[in-house]
Each structure stands twice: as C-alpha cells, then as structure tokens.
C-alpha cells in the first residue's frame, strides 16, 4: 500500500510525458506499465522500430536506384537476424534511456497491469508476481490502443500478423498480403517489398490512404505501384483459411476476375486500424464514461466524467498519434495543477512514412470540400526545384490551403522525400495564423526542399520564381 499525488496508467508517449511533466512540476508520481521501461507501442512496436526498418528499406531502394547515376551495387544480401538485432537495439536504447529518466525524476515505476478499486485507489498486478495497492489524488489514464481485427475473419495462425507481428520480422516471406491500404499497411508493406517480398495490398475503398488528399496520394501511387506486386482497390477480404504452406484468402469486389477471387499468400498482415484500450478493469464501476466508439469521454482539459481522473492519447480519440498524446499530457498535468488550459490545437500533423512520404496538417482540401468551405489551393510541383532535381527526387508536391478572404494558411499538404520533416513548418504557419505572404516572404535556405513551401506561397500570389504559368491553350 502506497500513496501518491498522481498515478499515470500506461507509459507510452502520452503516459511518460505526463509522468515526467508532473514530476518536473513537483508532484509525486507513480507510473504503471506492463513493459520493463516506458515507451509504449510507439517505441516498442510502433513508430520507432518501423522507422528503423523503413530507413533500411530506403537504403536498399536508393542503392538500387543508384545504377541510374552510374553507381551499380550488387543485389543486397539480407541477414534478417542482424537486421532484427539492429531494430531491437534501437528500441533498447530508447526505452533504456526513458528508464533512466524515470529514475532521475524519482518517478515510482510499477511494471504491471492496473485496475481501479475506486476513484482514489488502483491495484497493480505486478509482472514479477504479487500486487500493490496505490492511493492517489489524480490519475491520468494513458492506456493506448491495440491493432483492430477484421470482424469475423480472425484466424489463429502464426502466418496472420498484426503490425506488432510484422515488426518482429519472423522471416522474409515470398509473398505477403497487406489487408488495409492505410499508413500502417503501406509502411510495413514497403519494408517487406524492399526486402524482396512480393507484396499485395488490398483496400476496400477506392484509393490508398483514405481521407488524405488525392493529389498527394497520386504522388505516392506512382512509386508504390511498381514497388508492390499488386494493389487491389475496392476489394474486400471475405475469408481466410490456413492451408499447407500459406494462407488462402477469399476476395470480393467489383470487376474482380474469377482467378483473383482466391489467392494464397505466405503471410498476411492485417492493418485495418486500431482500437482504444478503454477497458481498464474497474473503470466502468467508478463512473468514467465511454463514447459510442469506445473512447473514454473527456472534456477540453482531458478530464473524464470523474473529476480527479484524466485520460489522454489513443484512448480518448483520433487521431491516434504519439505527438497528439504527448501534447495532451502537458494539458492534463497543467489542468491538474489548476491552470486554465485546454487541448485546442489548430493543426495536428499526420505523416505517412512511405517513400515518398506524405504529410499534411490543418485543413485539407478534402475537409474543405466536405465542409463547403471556400479555399484557394496553391500547389508547387517539385519538378521545378533545384534540390529535388539534384537528388533525383522530383516526385513531389507541396501545397497550401489558403483562405481567399484573409490569405491565411489554413492547411498544408506535402508529398515527397522528407515530407515528414518539412510539414513542421506548415504546422507552425497554421498555428501562428500566418498569411501566405508570411511564408512567401520568409527566406528559406537554398538549395533545400523547404523552398517548396515558400514557392507554393508565391504561386498563390501568381509570381513563383520557378513556375511559369502560360496562358491556357485552346484545348478543344
């Protein structure tokens, strides 16, 4: 039995950020997580290991492409064990570092699973056996999310993996089916394709990355199509069965050839989204409310229906992104300290770490159309940019979504190499209420890809240096 001021349940990027912030503010903190160190899905089986593998995939792809520049390497030899060890080492370094920070901050770390006894008490079933009861003044629930399954299709087979299984890199299969053309499926699909697997992607909607602006996705498609063995759109998986040497998958979809309706793959990756871990035992009994989609309901300060309980991150709603969770962590801690704060971002960046990357923030063209909001879109194609040509990556597009009345930048979308880094400037522009003129009049370093943001702003005013728009030709 111990007591603390703040208990944080879950040590992902939301939970550990909350615990560290609370400790820095002088509060006494207990952090609970089943893993030996903080990190959560993001660091252990999400953002970080996938980026390590995507980096490797990019090196393979660039080495291959180098023949176009007169540098020819042999076919890569892949030592899966060593690759897996590299990835494990990345994870180990980061989570170990976080473990050190826990100690430095004198945060009490309990490895185990928490359940609520009442609104002031949790019980932690410790991983090493035994249990500990902790009473607290405030709790922050940051229990995260888990991969969703396709309803009615789950089969218990080692050949059928979720994102965690795929990151384990059990082998390099000859063929892989990726169910779901969202960002997890495309990122992991890219990794396996680069390693030599014939990857098929099946997506039930009409395009990859549903929700993203189509012009950005088009840029990705141009590289994704030759990389992947096959991309099946408007197609559903209707059945899966483990057979000798593979998984037999049944498909249905408009215009699908009979021969394609049943195919066998060495492995299947199911990446159809994630579900919140809102079923923390005891939570229902103390009055914390969930919404219809199973997320914990919170107000703008991340406070749940029970006043001394807060919740942050994937468990409170979309977008389920690490950087949203860690921002929410700060808000929740400040709310606990009685400050008048609210979670009120104007732009949450989204990045798909494929090659090329796709990133966007703020208002998308798709949103604007759905809302019937009048916007002007200024696009700058990378083909006109010096750096893009120099690195042989002209397959890019930068665009600004601009309010025609005030000329404010409402949203930014980027497709191209390094888009994930470039979008940060877009987020700052949207948050600061920058006008297109502010972006255009800010000197950007030459020659860099960041110039595309400045040039897109200049396109809006009709005087981009590197884009000449001749008068429209008579086309009919």
């Amino acid at each position: 039995m111990s007591s603390t001021q703040v208990v944080v349940i879950g040590a992902g990027p939301g939970g550990y950020a909350a615990a560290f912030r609370a400790a820095d503010m002088g509060l006494q903190v207990t952090l609970v997580d089943p893993q030996p160190n903080p990190g959560g899905v993001c660091t252990y089986v999400g953002c970080i290991p996938s980026k390590a593998l995507l980096h490797v995939a990019k090196v393979i792809s660039e080495a291959h492409h180098a023949s176009a520049w007169g540098i020819t390497y042999g076919e890569p030899k892949i030592d899966v064990n060593k690759l897996r060890a590299f990835k494990a080492n990345v994870v180990q370094k980061l989570t170990g570092g976080l473990g050190q920070l826990v100690k430095h901050r004198k945060v009490a770390y309990l490895q185990g699973m928490a359940s609520f006894v009442d609104a002031r008490t949790i019980k932690v079933d410790l991983t090493n056996g035994g249990a500990e009861t902790v009473t607290f003044e405030h709790a922050i629930i940051a229990s995260g999310s888990r991969p969703a399954a396709v309803p009615g299709l789950s089969i218990d087979s080692p050949r059928v993996m979720d994102s965690t299984g795929a990151l384990d890199l059990p082998d390099i299969p000859n063929s892989l089916l990726v169910v779901g053309g969202g960002y997890i499926g495309l990122e992991m699909g890219s990794v396996y394709a680069a390693l030599g697997t014939k990857v098929t992607v099946v997506e039930m909607t009409a395009g990859l990355l549903p929700g993203a602006d189509r012009d950005l996705v088009t840029v990705l498609n141009r590289r994704m199509e030759p990389l992947m063995h096959r991309i099946m759109l408007n197609t559903r998986v209707t059945g899966m069965k483990e057979v000798k040497d593979g998984v037999k998958v049944e498909f249905s979809g408009e215009g699908l050839k009979d021969a394609d309706k049943s195919q066998t793959f060495d492995r299947v990756l199911v990446s159809v989204g994630r579900k919140p871990n809102s079923a923390v035992p005891g939570l229902d009994k103390i009055g914390v409310a969930l919404n219809q989609r199973g997320f914990i309901q919170v107000d703008q300060t991340l406070r749940t229906a029970v006043p001394n309980l807060f919740a942050i991150g994937d468990v409170v709603g979309d977008p389920m992104l690490a950087h949203k969770a860690s921002h929410e962590a700060g808000v929740a801690v400040e709310a606990i300290l009685g400050k008048k704060v609210a979670f009120e971002p104007q732009a949450i960046p989204a990045v798909v770490f494929t090659d090329p990357e796709i990133a966007w923030c703020g208002l998308t063209e798709t949103d604007a159309a759905a809302q019937g909001r009048k916007v002007e879109v200024a696009k700058f194609p990378w083909a006109a940019l010096g750096r893009a040509v120099a690195i042989d990556r002209t397959d890019g597009l930068t665009k600004l979504v601009i309010d025609p009345e005030t000329e404010r930048v409402l949203g930014v979308g980027i497709a191209g190499a390094g888009a994930g880094e470039l979008i940060a400037e877009g987020v700052l522009a949207v948050e600061m209420g920058a006008l297109a003129a502010d972006v255009g009049l800010t000197i950007h370093p030459h020659p860099t890809l960041s110039e595309t943001l400045m040039e897109a702003a200049e396109v809006f005013y009709g005087h981009s240096t590197h884009v000449f728009r001749p008068k429209k030709r008579a086309t009919s």
Binding site: G185, E203, V272, Q300, V375, E376, T406, G462, R469, R473
Partner: protein, 459 residues
C-alpha cells in the same frame, strides 16, 4: 442525341493523366468550356473544359482513375440551350463552378464540391465519409471531428477551431477567461495578438461591452510628449471620469444626428410661478426639467422607438414597456445620471420631489447603482449655465437624449408685430439606426408643443 465527351489533347507530350476530381455529376447542366474534370498529369494539374454544353447523363470516370487522351469521360445528352436546361437539383453548384481559366494556374484550382452539399452539419459528412476500417489514416478531418464528438462540451470548439492566433495568445486568452473567438484581431488577416486580448479585456471590464465594436480594433496613436512645450502634470483619472470616458467612447459608435427646435414657454413660466409653491411645500422644485420629464414620458408613449435599444448581435430592436427617464446631473465629481422610475405614472409634483432628492444624492455621492440604471431616455439640462443648443451624446444603450439650453426672451412675430416671448432651445440627439429624421422632428415638435400647449398632448 447523346454526346460522348472524350478527353481532349492536353498539351505537348501529355497523353494521360490521373483524375483528381470530377466537378460535375449526373443531371448537372454544363456549358461549353465549363471545367468538368481536374486532371493531374506529369507536368501539371489541369482543369479540363467541356467541349460541348448539355446535361450530364453519365460520368465514366472517378477520382483516382487514369485516363488517356481520347477516352470517353462523360456522356452529355441533348445539348441544352446554352446551359438553360431543366433546373437540375444541382443547379447551384453548377453555376458556381469556375470559369475555365489559365491552365492549372494557382487561382484555377477551385474549391467547389459539386458532389457535396454545402450543408451546415458538415462535420458529420466528414466523419461518415472517413469511417472506413483504416480510420486511423483518415487524417485530421476525422480526427478533429472525433475529438469534438468525444467531448461533453463540444460547443466551444468550432469557434476556436480556426482562429488566427498563435498558441501562446490562445493560452493567454484562456487564462484571462476570454473566448478567443470573441476577440477581433488587429494583425494582418485579422490575426489576434497578445495586445488585442489585453485590449478586449480592458474594454470588457470598462462596461458597455464595447469590445465587439470597431473601437477595439482602431489603433489610437500614442500621445506626444507635451512637456517639451511647457510644464505639464499628469493626474490619475477618477473612477467616474474613467467610466464616463469609456462609456461615451462606446456610446459614440451609434450614428448620431441632432435635431434642434425652440419651445415658447412664456405661458409655462407663468404656470411654474403660480404652482411653484405647491411643489416646494412637498419638498421639490417645479423646474423645467421636471415638467420635461412628464412631457417626454408622454411623447415616448406616442413614439415608442425613442425608448428602444439596438441589439445588432441578434439583429433586433428591443422596445421597453416601461418608462424610466434619466436626468444628467452635474456634480463636483463628474457627470451622473440618476433615473426616475415609471415617470409616465407619476404626477409633476412627484417627479419634482424625486428629482430634487436624486440630485442631492448625486452631489453627496450617495446614489446607488440601482438608482442609476434602467433608463430608457435621458434629459440633460445646461440651462442653468447658459448657451443655446448643443449636441448631447446618446446615453448608450438608449437611443435618444434631449438637451435643454437656457431660456432666452426673443422677439417673435405674432400676427402683425414682434412680441417678446420666452424661448427654450431644445436639442434632440438620436440614434439614426432606429429613428428616422422625420420621426425625430415630430417627436421634438411634440415635446415643444407639450410645453407650449399642454393640452395638445391629449389630442
């Protein structure tokens, strides 16, 4: 005759493209040269104009499709007479569709969404359109909507959603309890700065709620250094002075007009002398102001818009069914306006007595807030000091004020000769938003005649 619209030549070496957007749907009436498709080619994004006009009977492509030059993309039926076909349900968006212009120029990328009704509950549309299994990848639209719907009090979210203010400024506003959506920004594009929030708070605390109006957004140039021309002394404003200054600044925003008139009060003065004793016995003084209170109360009964208020936020005019009249009182500390309640139901002597009491309280700084609020119309009498005619400022949120100057004996032409008459100068300032000039002239004439011929008010 159905017309097959094929993808035309798009330019040198451009043979195919990806459909980014289909800008028409079945049933739409399109004009020749109206943009129907947005196509992305290797070189640029191009809007493809229709080669013929007609009603769209079939759309053979969808966003994401690859199309080649010569491929049929739309089928048009029976070329309508220059777009004046049947009024299709989608007529409005069709009209809004942009005219073809410079190929893929920056301004050529339009924002119309012919397929999407621009309905108010747009977030719901966004949510349902992205609720596929890969919701996580659906981006910010679904994300923000989901967050909003997950929150017990989402009402505050839309206002704050796209306010042009830096995160530090939004946080500052929240600390001060200010809804950032209410603050008007003085920066480029209406951007809200730290100082805009401070200014909003100051004006909101000064009463009058003037922050919504223009004053908050107007930059007042800084004062010069007066001391370079001679000795100066800076004294802090008294509370009354500060409130008066802020209140009148807000009041000044009403479009003011002042109407002048004169009333012949020769007979009234005889009446005042004859009955003055009676009022004095009761503890009051039968002043012109007291009599005017009664006359104005009667005039308001006839012209109720003079006791109204303007509610621009709700685009309404509020008429008050009570008749409390404010009287401006000059005190050593500044201007105060006590209010005589239900003046229309009181006799002149009662009004006179109450007026004397309130004036004394004003000078003794004993007026309560209650005694200074609720007025529907104000009277300000400078006759005791002098002058003829002035332009009083309306006591916001009232819409009219009557200014009274000093009575002067003037020669007045009567029948065939000048006769000496005692003339009272009257100045009526009114808010032109609710009161028309003719009504103001009538109102003031009614008051003047009430002074000249009290029985006229009963006509």
């Amino acid at each position: 005759m159905p017309i097959e619209f094929k993808l035309p030549e798009l330019g040198e070496n451009v043979e195919k493209g990806d459909v980014v957007r289909v800008m028409v749907k079945v049933g739409d009436v399109v004009k020749k040269d109206q943009s129907v498709l947005e196509l992305e080619t290797d070189k640029a994004t191009i809007e493809v104009p229709a080669s013929e006009g007609g009603t769209v009977s079939e759309v053979r492509v969808k966003p994401g499709d690859k199309v080649k030059v010569g491929q049929v993309v739309l089928v048009l039926s029976e070329a309508a007479a220059d777009g004046k076909g049947k009024p299709a349900a989608a007529a409005a968006p069709t009209k809004d569709a942009p005219e073809p212009q410079a190929a893929a120029g920056p301004k050529a990328v339009p924002a119309p969404a012919p397929q999407q009704p621009a309905a108010a509950p747009a977030p719901a549309v966004a949510a349902s359109s992205t609720s596929g299994p890969e919701l996580r990848s659906a981006g910010r639209s679904a994300a923000v909507v989901a967050i909003a719907s997950a929150r017990p009090a989402p009402a505050a979210e839309p206002a704050a959603a796209l306010v042009a203010a830096a995160p530090s400024v939004r946080r500052y506003a929240r600390e001060l309890g200010v809804d950032i959506g209410e603050v008007s920004g003085s920066g480029p594009g209406g951007r809200i700065g730290h100082e805009d929030v401070t200014k909003y708070v100051k004006s909101a605390m000064g009463g009058g709620g003037a922050a919504r109006g223009g004053a908050a957004g107007v930059r007042v140039p800084p004062l010069p250094d007066f001391s370079k021309w001679g000795e100066v002394e800076s004294r802090p404003m008294s509370n009354i002075r500060r409130v008066t200054a802020e209140h009148l600044t807000a009041a000044w925003q009403a479009p003011h007009v002042t109407q002048h008139d004169k009333a012949d009060i020769t007979t009234l003065e005889e009446f005042r002398h004859a009955f003055g004793k009676r009022a004095e016995a009761a503890g009051g003084k039968l002043t012109v102001t007291a009599i005017l209170v009664k006359i104005v109360a009667t005039a308001i009964g006839r012209y109720p818009q003079f006791a109204s208020s303007v509610d621009m936020a709700n685009e309404a005019i509020i008429f008050k069914k009570y008749c409390h009249i404010g009287i401006a009182v000059d005190t050593p500390n500044g201007l105060l306006v006590p209010v005589i309640r239900d003046a229309d139901q009181k006799g002149i002597v009662d009004v006179a007595v109450e007026l004397a009491q309130l004036s004394q309280k004003a000078r003794d700084k004993k007026l309560t807030r209650e005694e200074m609020s609720g007025g529907v119309f104000s009277i300000t009498n400078l006759g005791g000091i002098g002058g003829s005619f002035f332009t009083p400022i309306i006591n916001r949120p009232e819409v009219a004020i009557l200014g009274v100057s000093r009575t002067v004996t003037e020669p007045v032409w009567r029948e065939s000769s000048f006769v000496p008459r005692q003339m009272l100068p009257l100045s009526l300032s009114y808010d032109h938003r609710v009161i028309d000039g003719a009504d103001a002239a009538r109102f003031l004439r009614f008051v003047a005649e009430g002074l000249e011929q009290p029985l006229s008010m009963q006509l």
